[in-house]
Amino acid sequence: MPEVDLGITPLRELNGTLHNLPADTNETHWIVDNPAGRHAIAAGLDAPLKVEINGPVGYYCAGMNKLATVQVHGSAGVGVAENMMSGFVHVSGDASQAAGATGRGGLLRVDGNASSRCGISMKGIDIVVKGSVGHMSAFMAQAGNLIVFGDAGDALGDSIYEARLFVRGNVKSLGADCIEKAMRDEHKAAVHDILTRAGINGQIDPSEFKRYGSARKLYNFNVDNAGAY
């Protein structure tokens, strides 16, 4: 399997090589060493590759990911897996702000904490955070699932549309139009399914989570509020 040392190989060369692999390539498993917090490592992949990165990455790692599996053995900077379409991104450390932002599909797993605005404007991605998430997480979230084993910071799910948020710990505060909802069997099954896909089923009982979602009061203009504008 190819091994690339980013202390030697320029990052553009690595990303260019990964983007230009032919569809029938046998080189499907890549190791990247010495990332040293560089930005946009393994961004824009669109093939069923596996890329393992040994160390901390900077901004937008695995951004726009499609089909690929990206494993970060370390922490990730701002916007890991932002706008992911499909595939699997796994961060063994912490993730910075806006993890999984605007993601349309695929699965993001963070074993540590994710900071503020995790899952902001998510549009179908599933995100599992084994630690806690920071303030304004799932802001304007539209679709997909955010599962948090720990706590959530201020204004969780502010202005949320139809995404589902599952938090096991405390929620510091809920954002505008986000409310707690009943955790029915179908939701436990959904959590079970996502944890299974994330490779961490059996660690947590899905019934320990509380579910949060949209009160749907902000969908349409309410004429009673006209005076406020």
Binding site: G37, R38, P56, G58, S75, V78, D94, S96, Q97, S115
Partner: protein, 296 residues
Amino acid sequence: MCGIVGLFIKDPALEPELGRLTARMLETMTDRGPDSAGFAVYGAGTDGQTKITLRGVAADAIEETVTAIESAFPGATAVLHDTHAVVSLSSGDASHLGDWLAENSPETEIVGRGSRMEIYKEVGLPADVASRFGLATMRGTHAIGHTRMATESAVTTDGAHPYSTGQDQCLVHNGSLSNHNNLRRVLRREGIAFETENDTEVAAGYLSWRMREGMSLGDALEVGLTDLDGFYTFVVGTENGFGVLRDGIACKPAIMAETDQYVAFGSEYRVLADLPGIGQARVWEPEPATVYFWER
């Protein structure tokens, strides 16, 4: 944008490395701030002596000014660093130097004063600025640095950070303040002087004012959360300490690392990547609206 770096050394064995490590951190932040760069270094001090960092319009101009200072203030010594000079003189003489400069060398600016702090800043790429002043060879207990991408005011040396907030105190800022014009008017009425139209200078002046009115730096930062409107990550240096504050929504990036040897701050992890023992360091993002402070 803008980039911030900070290094606070806990283990004296690392003090000779302060300048070299800070220079490297500063250069890494070039992409976040190619317009100007500056840094404050807390080095050795002598009892009864005050160090004043002066900035001239050019290297030969500051050399002339320094020669004149040495004859006007017997006992004063100076070290030249490109366009800057660090003048050490008795604390009594130090209080007269401002008036003397106004009369004899009005184009020379006082960038900072204190018993240990030296401040250097110029327009240009961070690596060039660091090498002009010889940052890599400087030693000390802590340093903070800034690379600027100008937004609120022009690319000038006056607009470069750090800004001094008082004796041995300085501030660097990533972000932009929205109420700096109003706050500047308020602070001018309180007798705080401003040299530029820069928003960070207002934040520095605000902290100076609060501390002049008797607050500790920590308390001044705390009330600043209410009075300073905008985006900011601040890193402040004091004679013995180093503090960090982010605005309530943590708009600007910040990451910190701590080992037995040091506490380090960077706008991005890349800044920290070359520090000794970073693999074993505790690395975390400072919480919004929370004052962090280290002292030795």
